[in-house]
Amino acid sequence: MIYFDNAATSYPKPPQMLKGMKFFIEKIGSNPGRSGHRLSLAGGRIINQTRENLAQLFNISDPLKIAFTHNATHALNFALSGILEPGDHVITSNIEHNSIARPLRYLTERGIEFSQVKVDEKTSQLNPEDIKKKFKKNTKMIALIHGSNVTGIIFPIREIGKIARENGVYFLVDASQTAGAYPIDVEEDKIDLLAFTGHKALLGPQGTGGLYVRPGISLKPIIFGGTGSHSEEDRQPLFMPDVLESGTANTVGLAGLKESVKFILKTGVEKIRNHEKKLTQRLIDGLKEIKEVILYGSDNLEEHLPVVSFNIKGFSPSEVGEILDKKYQIYVRVGLHCAPWAHQAIGTYPEGTVRFSLGYYNTAKEVDFALTAIEKIAGKS
């Protein structure tokens, strides 16, 4: 079996993750931040440590400015709906995942407008200069995916963050594909709002994620409820992280994420990135050799995640996916990848592409085997 669907969720996970989750379930099991007894505090300490590990990873000076959510989608909804008011304008790209595209489309019904910066059709890279041209008087935010889940292309967020700061607008970054796989520094990158998920390159369990909010920015909540604080009031507290953390946390998930992030800190993002870059190079080089293969996006490794989209002439993406699964036990994702905008941008809508997404646990041998499979499939058309 070969698992090449890490952009959907990473698999396998570091063994420490399961140990952390098992420890919580067996030895703690409490509701953190509610009661004052020892087990409740022990649960709260686990969550606090998860915040601190993530703060270290993203160079966040105050860990309490990270609110936990169930995934990046919830975090992006909190950020967009929490900041934007009727009359505001947002700059985004035409390659966004539905986790930004759909909330933005919904917000247009509430009097918020957005402009898309077009990526290059061939490289699917974005030119920061094009962002500057989109500014309007009422621009409030730049909301962008950091690395595309379709083409794997990484946007130059450091340059874009600078543009956002110079123009006095908020910079919201969707780090779903990059957190854990590519260095992120909220200070150097001038990120005001960072949405991340725990179960992809952070190698944690599903149902974990979060939103970092730069100190000084206040969000309107969109979910209201119990927080274990200000209990005498029926109004939602407005401070971080409680403003966004209503209801019981996914403590068992966060206990796992704590260990996964610790594993990443110990291994080093650079080492993970180098390993994945080498595999991506091998994959792209191999695919280029197969004349029936059409590759999408830039082949410059420096701006490439281990996510590669392609098609084989004469085959639909779903046919290729089926053969890879049934005949070769290679598990990939085909189709639109929850990102119709992106496929329109690269000219693969509505059929989509075959997507190979690699992770830290994949090997060169697996890449070679998959390349042989693609060669054989292509040869039969």
């Binding site: 606090n48 401070f239 409680d242």
Partner: protein, 76 residues
């Protein structure tokens, strides 16, 4: 009898972050249920020797941990 003070917080998230900071600073303190007359926010507070009050405040401020207040503990 020694005089004690109490630091209270807006939420448990803040209290548990503070707990770590104060431990690292080697300040002696005890977690107690927050006395109702002081605050109805977070359920736990930290009790410490009144003479450490300045150090507690400084360490928390330096680590950017917001706290509600530092109060004298009423003797029972």
């Amino acid at each position: 009898m020694e005089d004690y003070k109490v630091v209270t917080f807006y939420s448990t998230s803040h209290a548990l972050r503070a707990e770590k900071i104060l431990k690292q600073a080697a300040i002696k303190f005890w977690a107690i249920p927050t006395p109702r007359y002081l605050s109805s926010n977070c359920g736990i507070a930290f009790k410490f020797a009144a003479t450490d009050a300045e150090r507690v405040g400084e360490n928390l401020k330096q680590a950017k941990v917001e706290y509600e207040g530092i109060y004298p503990l009423e003797k029972e």
